[in-house]
Every structure is written in structure tokens, then in C-alpha cells.
Amino acid sequence: MQKVFGRPKGLTEIPFHYCPGCTHGIIHRLIGEVLEELNIIEDTIGVAPVGCAGFSLDFFSCDFVGAAHGRAQAVATGIKRALPDRIVFTYQGDGDIAAIGTSHAIHVAARGEKITSIMVNNAIYGMTGGQMAPTTLTGQVTTTSPYGRDNAVAGFPIDLPKTIATFDGAVYVASVSVDSPKHILQAKKAIKKAFQVQQAGLGFTLVSILSTCPTNWGMSPVDSLKWLREKMIPVYQMGEIKVSEEVKGL
């Protein structure tokens, strides 16, 4: 029988153990496909964060390094500066990249560090049990904003890709979602573009991906996708937020 569908070579055989309905699995698969399609598995070093995404180091078939909380982009900088001809990417949750790691996120963009960062934004801290993130929506209930995020107390949600896009060294910044087949295809395209831009050595690339956390949102997987679509997408600027001239010419 002809095999028409299987795991991409960019992923190991280890089964994902994310919660049911969590979209980490979809995003992992998209990156795994891109690594295979661009034939860069053997040239790539990934950097994992803490939190749920910290498990990613087992799931990709390329070399992987586990960084301290928020430090993935600094670690990736060190790897890339040591090995400029390799592909280096970080895979980070919104808490990792937009709270504890904010300074590194800003400075890799400012330096035009030739790495790719994948930011998985589910508007909550997942592994620690559903606390408020910098990306938590106004009014959203979490264990540390039990009455809903109050902007007067906790400030406003951070739209990190918009900020990152303002730095000259960031040459490709996209914000995508994995709530529907159409959006998943768009997400794959953005991820692939980001890796191609890195291959061309043009500068820093960031792809933010809106994701779900059914467990900590307290919703079914289907309701989670609906909530993402109806509540998150209107808050965050979507699409290719920045495509610099050199990237257009790629």
C-alpha cells in the first residue's frame, strides 16, 4: 500500500504528550515538515525554553539545547556566533519570550541576530498551571487574575511581534494562527519563509503563532479553537507584520 501520510523526518518517533487539544503538536509538525522540506535537519540546532514547550527538545530530530527560563535567544545567539553556517531556532512560549526573556527578544532583533524565533502564544502560563501571562487578554480569567485581567492593576496585553517589527535588525516578522486548516497552511508558509530568510543570512526572524491551552482555559479543544478565533485574533495584529526589502527580493 502506498504511504500517503506520515510523520515528517524533522520529528522523532517519540509520541507527543501535550494535553488533548493543545496545538503544540500542530506547530511541532509544521516545523518538522519545514526542516525536512528545506533539507536542514542535520544543519539545525534548536533551543528549547522552560514550560510546556521545554519538552520540544525530545520531539525534533535535530540537535537541541535546553535553555534557562527566558534565555533561549541568548543561548541561540551563542550557538549562531560559534557556528554561523548552521540554522538556529528558538521555540518559546509567550511567557518565556514576552516576560522573563523580553530583553533578549528585543536585543536579538536590534542586533539582527541571524536566528529564527517561534513564539507560541496561548495567552496563559501553561505548565505552571494557568497563571496570567503578558499576553493574557483584558478580562481573561487566570489563576493569578481570578476576577479577570484588570488593566488598571496588571497592565495591557503585549503584542510582541508588533514591537519586534520596529527594529531594523528584524527582517521578517509574522503573526499567524493554527485554529483552522486555512490558517495552519498560512502558518506553515510563514515558518518556512522565516527559515529561508535565515538560510539567506538576512537578519532576525520571528513567527508568532496563536495557540490554545484547553486545560488551563477550562474549555474543550473545539471551544478553545473557537475562543482563539473570536477573542484572540481580534486583539493581536495578524499576518506578515514586517517583510523587509531584502526579504521581498528573496
Partner: protein
């Protein structure tokens, strides 16, 4: 080979380059700044990279990445900056990554001053970051040693897959002394068959310190401790100065060790059998120096630029069998030779002449 006149910090930088250090990540802080400045000027000429990071935390984590990729890498800072690096240092130790870290000790706590101090002894030798780890800590006392020990730090880091800390102070970092620039000896070092540099022709590798299974975590801890035991056995270093027939011992490292030598010579002129043990490795602490010199020792004075930190290790080394006293200056002040000798006379009831 001829000698050159270099500042202490420049000596460290020059030694690092000659030891094959290809990457330096740092953040300026007095009195260590000449290290990043010197390297920024000279390292890129040989194809190396110097990157001024956004902060100390970034710098140590950049070192983490470069070491994981298999490169020889260094960072340098001074006390408050080293505090910021502690998170990264704990991760380096846990992941067994060879990185050379230089601390030109300021005074402390807090922002502190720029004068010579040894107030980071505990932080350097007992942890500083979280977890049960150890760094190899080297304490030079003059320019030639700054050079030799910096070079050796890279080999020790690679040999044991462990971060190595070079601990000096503002006096040593800022002084100028002639130094002989020796070439690197080729060491027979283990291959870096653990580095994550792309999985071409081999299975994927991962470098991580995350254990969700307690049994595996304990296995990791035991492996680290076995390595530390091996280092303790093999790498204790010290200088013994008139210690063989000594009745009284001074113990001091770095700048204090240097000053203490003159004290010993002055005491000997007065017929006092004073000797010196100058620890060169602060971790592992040179316990063997005390076991080999113990017979006939009536008392010890540690000379430290802090409130008394190394004295605890000296007391452990002699196991309460002789009295151990502390002569300390703090806040960037250096002791004068005659102050130390006067104190030795006082605590051991010895006749010390005049101003000595």
C-alpha cells in the same frame, strides 16, 4: 621569549586568545572592563567574535550556547555582574559546559567599591547559583599567574567539562607587571563528543538539565559529585613558602598571598618561624597542603580581604587541631605587612620588634 608590560586585565585577555578562545561575551563593569576592551580590539583580527551583550545574564547564556556548540568561550565581569551570571553558571555546571568565567572582585555587598576585595569567596567556592554544583576556582597572585592560570583554565574546563572561575581583584586587574607570553602547550584533551553542532552523520544530541524522574535526577547528581571528587583528588594546588619548618602559618590567596610573603620574610629575620600556604585553587580547597604541613604547627592566621570566609575552609582543613585566627581588611583596603606581623605577634604571644 621576551617579557611584555601589560595590565592585569589585558594579561588575562591576551592569555585567553593564546589559549584558543574564539568567542567572548561580556558587559563592561569596572574594574574588569579592560578585558572586554582588549579583546574587542584584538580577538576579531584572528577571526574571533566579541559581542557586548545587553546584560550579564545574556552574556553568560551566550557563553552557554557557544560552549554547547563546541567553541572555547569566555566571559568576564566584577562582583555585581557575577551575581547576575549566577543563574547561567548553575546551568553551565548542570549541563557540564566548559566556559571560563573571570571575576575581578569588587567590594560588596551591593554595588560596592572598586578597591581590592575577596568578598566573593563564598559565592565562588560554595555555589552562588542554585543547586549542588562546584566550579573550579583559580586564584592568581601576580601577572605571570594571571597569564598562566587563564591559559590553564581553558584546558581544565575542557578536561572536566566544567565551568572554571578565575578569581582576582581590582589590584591584580589594574596593576601593570612584566609578563612572559608563553605559547599554549598542547594538552591531550577528551574529544567534545557531546557538542550540539548539527547531527550530520550521527544521531541527534541534546544538552539539557531537566529531570522529571527523580531516579534519573539522582543519577545525574551522583555523576556530577563523582566528577567533583575526582577534581578534588587531582587538582588541589597551592604554593608553600617557608612552610616546611614553620611553627606558625599564614594562609592567604591572591593579593593577600603576595603581601604575606613579605611578612614571612620579615618574621624570619626576627627569628619567628612563620610560613605561608597560598591556595592557588580555592575550589578544590588545598586541604592536602595542611595535612602535609600539620606537624609542628602551633597556630594559623588567615589573611583575607573580607570578613572571614576562607577561614572556614582552613578550619575544616585542620579539623580544629590548631587555633586559626583571621586578619582581615575590608571595603577595598589592603593590609600592610607590619600590621599582619603585629597581629601574628599578638595572637600567638610572640615578641615582634617595633614596627617590624
Amino acid at each position: 621569549m621576551s617579557k611584555v608590560l601589560l595590565k592585569g586585565n589585558e594579561t588575562i585577555a591576551e592569555a585567553a586568545m593564546r589559549a584558543g578562545c574564539k568567542l567572548f561575551f561580556g558587559y563592561p563593569i569596572t574594574p574588569s572592563t579592560e578585558i572586554v576592551e582588549y579583546l574587542a580590539k584584538h580577538l576579531p583580527k584572528g577571526g574571533g567574535t566579541v559581542l557586548q551583550a545587553e546584560c550579564e545574564v545574556a552574556a553568560i547564556n551566550m557563553c552557554f550556547g557557544a560552549a554547547a556548540a563546541g567553541a572555547r568561550v569566555m566571559t568576564a565581569s566584577s562582583s555585581p555582574g557575577i551575581s547576575l551570571k549566577q543563574e547561567g553558571i548553575s546551568y553551565l555546571a548542570a549541563n557540564e559546559l566548559p566556559v571560563v568565567i573571570v571575576n575581578i572582585n569588587r567590594t560588596g555587598p551591593g554595588l560596592g567599591g572598586l578597591g581590592p576585595a575577596q568578598s566573593d569567596y563564598f559565592q565562588s567556592t560554595k555555589g552562588g547559583g542554585h543547586g549542588d554544583y562546584r566550579l573550579i576556582v583559580l586564584a592568581p597572585s601576580k601577572a605571570q599567574e594571571l597569564y598562566d592560570l587563564t591559559m590553564e583554565a581553558f584546558d581544565l574546563a575542557d578536561k572536566y567539562r566544567n565551568p572554571v572561575l578565575l578569581l582576582a581583584d581590582g589590584f591584580l586587574g589594574q596593576m601593570m607587571e612584566p609578563v612572559q607570553l608563553k605559547e599554549r602547550k598542547e594538552e591531550n584533551l577528551p574529544p567534545k563528543d557531546w557538542k550540539t553542532d548539527g547531527c550530520k552523520g550521527r544521531a541527534k544530541r541534546k544538552i539539557a538539565s531537566y529531570f522529571l524522574v527523580n531516579e534519573l535526577a539522582e543519577e545525574g547528581c551522583r555523576r556530577w559529585q563523582a566528577k567533583y571528587d575526582q577534581i578534588k583528588e587531582a587538582e588541589q594546588r597551592w604554593e608553600s613558602f617557608y612552610a616546611d619548618d614553620a611553627e606558625y602559618l599564614l594562609v592567604g590567596y591572591g593579593t593577600c598571598g603576595r603581601i604575606a610573603k613579605s611578612v614571612v620574610l620579615n618574621a624570619r629575620k626576627q627569628g619567628i618561624k612563620l610560613g605561608l600556604i597560598r591556595p592557588i585553587t580555592l575550589w578544590p580547597f588545598p586541604v592536602k597542603a595542611f595535612t602535609s604541613h600539620f606537624d609542628g604547627i602551633k597556630g594559623i592566621v588567615t589573611v583575607e580581604l573580607n570578613a572571614g570566609q576562607m577561614i572556614e575552609d582552613v578550619k575544616l582543613a585542620v579539623n580544629c587541631r590548631v587555633p586559626v585566627h583571621l586578619y582581615s581588611r575590608q571595603g577595598g583596603m589592603l593590609p600592610h605587612e607590619r600590621e599582619i606581623l603585629k597581629y601574628v605577634g599578638q595572637v600567638f604571644n610572640l615578641p615582634v620588634r617595633g614596627e617590624a
